[in-house]
Amino acid sequence: MKVRLLYFAILKDITGRSEAELTLPEGTLAGDVWTSMRNQYAQLAGYAQPPMIAVNEAYARPETRLRDGDELAFIPPVAGG
């Protein structure tokens, strides 16, 4: 299945991109994607716990099972206002 992953703020700086299309095995959890990001980017290695997670523009838990066509984003600590 395909999932669109969006990068914002620090994650956009670290990855050097604003989005990616991921091809994932069925049953992948949102938190699993964070684990693979940590393995890929040294700057994230220290962050065992994922930041907040959004699936389809709403907050979701790391245990959320992704589905084909989902839009996934990791939400670093927000600092609006």
């Binding site: 984003a73 670093p76 927000v78």
Partner: protein, 138 residues
């Protein structure tokens, strides 16, 4: 109706959106780019957002505050992009018959916006730049 803008915020326009003849109190809150943060000099701030989600989350904040303070009229606008010292990053306008509700609603909105809305800021100063809140908290 958008709660985000890339242009300077006109707080008076938000005030006009909320005021009704029955309102005796109007509280305008402005968040402004200041020249310091946690002891460091700040020269400018870049605001990034997950725009469609930020719109939805601000909408949720407004709805929750309207439930908590019935009768209060609320308008919110957050600016994104590169802001300088003194620039308004967010304006919240709250109108109510009585001042207690206007103050409480205003405070509740800014507190909740800062907790839940996917907006980030990168501070730039003489020592470089940094995404606020990232170091050690994620």
């Amino acid at each position: 109706m958008s709660y985000l803008t890339d242009s300077p915020i006109d707080s008076a326009a938000l005030r006009r959106q909320v005021m009704r003849d029955s309102d005796g109190a109007c509280v305008i809150f402005e968040g402004v780019v200041r020249n310091h943060h946690e002891g460091k000099r700040v020269e400018s701030i870049f605001y990034d957002a997950y725009r469609p989600m930020a719109e939805k989350e601000i909408e949720k904040v407004i709805r929750s505050v309207e439930l908590d303070f019935p009768g209060v009229a609320v308008a919110v606008l957050h600016r994104l992009g590169q802001l300088g010292i003194g620039d308004i990053s967010i304006t919240i306008a709250c109108a109510a018959a009585h001042r207690a509700d206007a103050y409480a609603a205003s405070r509740a909105i800014i507190d909740r916006v800062k907790e839940t809305v996917p907006i980030w800021k990168k501070e730039r100063g003489p020592d470089g730049e940094e995404w606020v809140g990232w170091q050690g908290r994620c």
